[in-house]
Subunit: 336 residues, 2 copies
DNA sequence: TTGTAAGCGTTATCAG
DNA sequence: CTGATAACGCTTACAA
């Protein structure tokens, strides 16, 4: 690095390193004019304190990490936006890690965070509810953790998530009252936290309406667009559903595409509702009924919880769940 | 931090700190069995080398920074995905900074990167082409920089961007040959790099078709959905356009919404084409013609350039432009 | 193959 | 208000 360091700067100024150091802190006793002179020359020389030395000195990194399962969908980018904004206004730096839905990756990332790199972690879980000893590392290293959206139930940490059960129940009930009898549930993985919770809302709504649960109507998909399409094509042709409740946006989009291709009329032949953070659901053909999660707010709040803990010097966040309510927005795709 | 350090670990093992340190490096001379024993006990005690101490020692942070103007749109999340993936496979950490289209913020972020925090920067510019002395800081501190999408022409760095001029020309020409006579150009800011380049394609296409440029048809919008809507409403009612070319997705979506609301038939009354990375353009009402930028690839390539430079120990990236071609996908919204 | 020791750039403490 | 000094935890010559 073509870096000037504090020693050189001090030498050039005819001062000690301590005095120079003080110029960069706000609380220290220092002659205002000395301070000003130091800052001016520092500016000229392009000096600023090496953060690794500082961090090493007082084990503060002013950095948080965000771990998410995937990237490039509306939900996570909006949540991330909320987190980043919160971090920025708290003067923190934000490291971002993607797991691609792989718990192994998650573990790798977590491990890389236990050497003081970050002061706290915000994450949306990738795994299934078992196998997360890797999170104990954070506890051991006293790095506070906050979950958002997807979480591990047995890990002690604050959770900020949506009222998925309730909204799923509501969405399913809405389909039922709109006349649907054979409602399929589309999900990536019915065992992970959100897939599971949302399914529970679905099954309970069916149950309460006196509709027997047909396991065949629960369709597990993948993350790949072509695969999803083919799975749905196959499933729709054999199952003849008249309603679709999709746990994630991507699945609903493929369903929509399939219906358009196959001439299945929405909402006449089939009604469709899904979880989605898309801001153009109203422009789709037909306009899509959605359960809209407050993604931005979720990120913002989760980060807020973390920074509160950090301010209080807490080494963990209390086991506590913050439920943000989602909104069921009925549009053409599920009108009766 | 409840951190074990190398000294304690060494003591517990009856070894010196150097030997322990060697166990964590791959190249050093060390007895394999000693190494194994060290690693095992380290695991037990939850030890891993403090990265700030390491970074301080050999001024390597294994971290890059990404600076983007905004968050939560398809383009940047996909680009980010490409960058993150590249970083991950190179064993680097990724810091993310958002400027909210504010050059001041950009400067603040840049400044915070010149103390060794990062080894390189990938950024999409927020400013207008002047006023970027703040980037000299990176050069002074020998931190290599790569631009993607939006750049500053006078800054020496590699640029990875789309062939915006060509695609804009093509898109506009397509509208013209589809019969449009009064094509409006929607843009957030016609002076910044992409807004400007895309406008050039638009004006040249008009020109080559013998259509006189009408400045009134260039409509500058904001970033706010309601404001955009109102601006367009006003503009459309007075200008009566029969074609729309939007420099960014968001503007086209508002145009679409407006037309839907006002009963302006697309493509009969008005044809619409826009830059967009949406993967559901085909599902819109009507299916939207788009210029699709290779966002993911752009991020991936930009990061690739940076890591190449890093591997070669270069302190800068050469002034050089990589143009990735966009694809004009004609759908219903602009069919004649 | 292992140990010793210097030093990376800062800052808190203490003394002046 | 300013200066000297030790320490943060690690790595790498160099010595053994």
């Amino acid at each position: 690095m073509g870096q000037v360091n504090i020693k050189e700067l001090a030498a050039k100024l005819g001062l000690s390193t301590s005095t120079v150091s003080r110029a960069f802190r706000n609380n220290s006793d220092i002659n205002p004019s000395t301070k000003e002179r130091i800052l001016r020359v520092a500016e000229e020389l392009g000096y600023s304190p090496n953060i690794y030395a500082s961090s090493l000195r007082d084990s503060k990194s002013k950095t948080i990490a965000v771990i998410i399962p995937e990237f490039g969908n509306n939900f996570f980018s909006q949540a991330l936006k909320g987190i980043e904004q919160q971090a920025r206004s708290n003067g923190y730096h934000t490291l971002i890690y993607v797991t691609e839905d792989d718990v192994q990756q998650e573990a790798v990332h977590i491990r890389s965070m236990c050497n003081g790199r970050v002061e706290g972690v915000i994450m949306s879980a990738s795994g299934e509810g078992l196998n997360h000893i890797h999170l104990n590392l954070l506890k051991e290293h006293q790095v506070p953790l906050v979950f958002f959206d997807r979480f591990y139930e047995d890990v002690e940490a604050t959770i900020v998530t949506g009222d998925d059960y309730k909204s799923s129940y509501k969405a399913t009930k809405h389909l039922i009252t709109s006349g649907c009898k054979r409602i399929v549930y589309l999900v990536i993985n019915k065992h992970i936290s959100i897939g599971k919770t949302r399914m529970q809302g679905y099954t309970d709504a069916l149950n309460d309406a006196g509709i027997a649960l047909d396991e065949a109507l629960i369709i597990e998909c993948t993350n790949n667009r072509e695969e999803i399409y083919n799975i749905l094509k196959q499933a729709f042709s054999t199952l003849k559903p008249d309603g679709v409740f999709a746990a994630v946006e991507r699945l609903a989009m493929s369903a929509l595409r399939l219906c358009n291709d196959q001439g299945i009329a929405i909402p006449q032949d089939l009604k469709l509702v899904c979880f989605s953070c898309s801001d153009i659901a109203d422009l789709l053909n037909p306009a899509l009924s959605t359960v809209r999660q407050p993604a931005y707010e979720m990120g913002f709040r989760a980060a807020g919880v973390l920074f509160d803990a950090l301010k209080k010097q807490q080494t963990f966040t209390p086991k506590h769940i913050v439920l943000l309510s989602s909104e069921l927005i009925v549009r053409t795709s599920s009108r009766s």
